[in-house]
């Protein structure tokens, strides 16, 4: 027989629909990603939850009759948090909060200016470009504690900084000079980071745009302001967001460079560390949770208000020019 047998009618013909294809791909993607997500959950999620849980407890510091400290945790609910915001520790906390914010704002601003300048220089084609690019990253590569020790030597009362400036400033004593010591060390260390991220953004800009601008008669400053900055904005915002998050949790620079117990450079992380080293894990966790919430708020505001593109959705968004809404005449997923 030459007639073609009809296929068994038990299952419907396969649907050639992109939606189903996407769903199957999505399921495969989730499966392949689940080991990573599990590791991230354990390494990131568990400590956050454990810390929050720990902050609801307090260690009894009293001594019993035979002279030994009473062991064990007690559940105190939100008492650790109210204790942080009240009285003397309240004043100390707000001082640390102000220091943290002040350091972040000042260092990120300075790093931004210096980093963009570095990136513009590195972007030019000149000899030994590779060497310059590699060596400019050295401050970033040195561990923060090591660079804090280096800068402590520089800012010693008889150190190089005082020699070059011709002054006898006591950098590590309490006061604005300690704040500036920390800021200088931090800007030195992390401007290369912003510089490198911005450089990556700069290299994507095609040179024809600059040529066209030059033909139109735009000078260097105008080119920078109207072409470079808007096109490098996504990379710039990501770099600034990372630096803000790093700045808010600054600990090693003030602690090693200036020392503990100096109110002018005390940050919230230092307060958490001090509580921890006195075996008061509940209040330490409470400080950490408060800092965590602060950072989350700042990061969320940054992403929402300024549109920092941390997820890589920019391509899809940029395909629709701002201000002009087009009627969708083709289905999503089809050829444009």
């Amino acid at each position: 027989m030459t007639t073609v047998q009809a296929p068994a009618q038990s299952k419907p013909p396969p649907v050639l629909n992109k939606a189903v294809d996407n769903r199957q791909q999505g399921r495969l993607a989730r499966l392949l990603l689940s080991p990573t997500m599990l590791v991230l959950l354990i390494v990131i999620g568990y400590p956050i939850l454990a810390g929050t849980y720990q902050s609801l407890f307090s260690q009894n510091q009293g001594v019993d009759e035979s002279g030994f400290v009473v062991q064990g945790d007690q559940f105190v609910g939100l008492d650790n948090y109210t204790a942080i915001f009240s009285g003397e520790s309240g004043a100390r906390f707000w001082n640390a909060f102000y220091n943290t914010t002040y350091f972040t704002v000042v260092t990120v601003t300075l790093e931004l200016i210096l980093g963009v300048a570095m990136a513009l220089i590195m972007n030019r084609a000149f000899r030994s470009k590779g060497l310059i690019r590699a060596s400019i990253l050295i401050p970033w590569a040195i561990p923060t504690v090591v660079s804090a020790l280096l800068w402590r030597w520089i800012f010693d009362a008889n150190g190089i900084a005082n020699d070059l400036l011709g002054t006898q400033v006591l950098w590590s004593t309490d006061g604005p000079q300690a704040q500036w010591a920390v800021i200088i060390a931090d800007v030195w260390k992390t401007s290369p980071f912003i510089g490198l991220l911005v450089l990556a953004g700069l290299q994507v800009i095609p040179s024809e745009v600059y040529e066209a601008a030059r033909v139109d008669g735009a000078n260097a400053l105008r080119q920078f302001w109207s072409i470079t900055l808007p096109l490098v904005k996504p990379a710039l915002l990501v770099a600034v967001l990372f630096r803000i998050l790093d700045g808010l949790r600054m600990f090693d620079l003030p602690f090693v460079l200036v020392g503990q117990g100096k109110p002018s450079v005390e940050t919230v992380s230092i307060l958490a560390f001090l509580e921890n080293s006195n075996v008061r894990y509940g209040p330490a966790a409470a400080y950490a949770v408060i800092l965590f919430i602060y950072i989350v708020i700042v990061a969320y505001a940054f992403v929402r208000l300024l549109g920092a593109d941390v997820m890589g959705d920019a391509k899809q968004k940029m395909s629709r020019p701002a201000g002009r809404r087009r009627l969708r005449t083709v289905a999503k997923g089809d050829m444009p």
Partner: protein, 430 residues
């Protein structure tokens, strides 16, 4: 799609929360035995071995005890970091640390928190040890650690500069010290040399210097029963000696950043006339390899006080056994070996560590070899330990806050002492 991922997220969050609830909470320590039993390899835990001789002592023990070897674990140089690591080890109830070299101010804290176990006092030659030293290793009358080295503050002074001003004896009171400084400053060789320095940076050394100033003026920080009593005229006189020193410039402005090493550098470069420092500086300042400008030009004297000789703070370290060690028997035998009189003498020779045995100080041949021994012995015998409180970490921070505030001029000495008294009272009655 969104509903499923949010459901997934909620489920994982709940799972993590359950995990946390199982894992966290509680923490009342499993009762570790305090009996001194068990043999096996152990670890000796101390801060950085700056003189470098500890390993050879351990090699001797290891040669004769091949199945109970001792390994050296070095912690950071800073005392605060050492204390933190030892506490973390105890909190984790880990058996990684066996013999702890504790600073003598931590004995009360470690004993009360059950980080170290009680030791049998009758098995150690306690009678031959300097009384203040062995007393600092006791808590509530029981021995918790065996001292292996002591430390007392001495006044280093430049003999050549004093002779140039016609002064033959080191000062015994603060008034004499000020006069001597004025006399030396008038001589050509003494112009530009600062008068006095100690350790005034905001760290444990400031507590030591503050305690010495207060005790040398006849005051106390806490009395014998541990009750704070620092807001007294005597204590104020002691603090004022330092405050006035900064105000008049007798203590150079940069001395507010001095720890031990910065001050030692200043003294060895010839920039200081009088320097309050631990004994370890003696050998280093006498070095003839060119690193010291004052080799042979200085001597050590007891600290001066307000109306007479001053009082040094008692430094030093002692060996304790961690509660969670599994080989406490070996640890005890090792401590006996480490703290013998012969070894104590070797530590003096190898690292200029102040020995703990009275007979070593009285040995004439050693006195000839180490001329500062009599000064050191007096210093230690009259030394006053820093406040023996259980919450020492908080107490020392309160003292540093008050002293640093007064020295930098942020508050008057009256305000500083009032604040300190309030804070110390709050710490003793939680």
């Amino acid at each position: 799609m969104r509903r499923r991922s949010s459901a997934l997220g909620a489920m994982t969050a709940i799972a993590a929360l359950v995990l946390t609830a199982c894992g966290g909470g509680g923490g009342g320590g499993g009762a570790a035995s305090t009996a001194l039993e068990g043999t096996g390899p152990i670890t000796l835990v101390q801060g950085k071995d700056t003189s470098g001789f500890v390993q050879q002592i351990l090699d001797e023990w290891n040669a004769s005890h091949p199945d109970q070897t001792v390994t050296l674990i070095e912690l950071p140089e800073s005392a605060d970091a050492q204390r933190q690591q030892m506490i973390q080890n105890a909190q984790a109830q880990s058996d990684a640390y066996d013999v702890l070299v504790v600073d003598n101010v931590w004995t009360s804290e470690f004993a009360a928190n059950r980080y170290i176990v009680e030791l049998p006092e009758d098995q150690f030659p306690v009678a031959d040890m300097l009384p203040p030293v062995i007393d600092s290793a006791r808590y509530l009358g029981k021995l918790y650690a065996v001292p292996n080295s002591s430390d007392g503050g001495m006044l280093y002074y430049r003999t050549d500069l004093l002779e140039g001003a016609g002064i033959t004896e080191p000062p015994a009171t603060w008034a004499e010290l000020t006069e001597d400084c004025a006399a030396v400053a008038a001589t050509p060789a003494g112009a530009g040399v600062s008068c006095y320095a100690g350790q005034f940076e905001k760290y444990e050394g400031l507590t030591v210097n503050f305690a010495e100033a207060v005790n040398s003026a006849g005051g106390v920080i806490t009395d014998d029963s541990g009750t704070p009593n620092v807001n007294t005229p005597e204590a104020r006189a002691g603090l004022d000696f330092l405050v006035n020193g900064f105000q008049t410039g007798a203590i150079p402005a940069e001395a507010i950043t001095y720890k031990e090493e910065e001050g030692r550098r200043a003294f060895m470069e010839g920039r200081l006339l009088f320097h309050r420092q631990w004994p370890y500086q003696y050998n280093l300042a006498n070095a003839t390899d060119g690193s010291s400008q004052v080799a042979g030009l200085f001597a050590a004297a007891p600290l001066p006080g307000l109306d007479g000789p001053g009082v040094s703070s008692l430094g030093g370290h002692a060996l304790g056994i961690s509660t969670y060690s599994k080989s406490k028997g070996t640890a005890l035998e090792f401590i006996k070996f480490y703290t013998t009189k012969e070894n104590s003498q070797r530590y003096l020779e190898l690292g200029s560590n102040a020995p703990i045995y009275t007979s070593i100080y009285d040995d004439p041949s050693l006195q000839a070899e180490f001329p500062y021994l009599p000064v050191l012995k007096d210093s230690i015998l009259n030394a006053v330990p820093r406040p023996k409180v259980v919450r020492y970490g908080d107490a020392t921070l309160a003292i540093q806050d008050a002293a640093y505030g007064a020295l930098t001029g942020e508050m008057t000495s009256e305000e500083a002492l009032t604040q300190l008294q309030t804070q110390l009272e709050a710490l003793s009655n939680p």
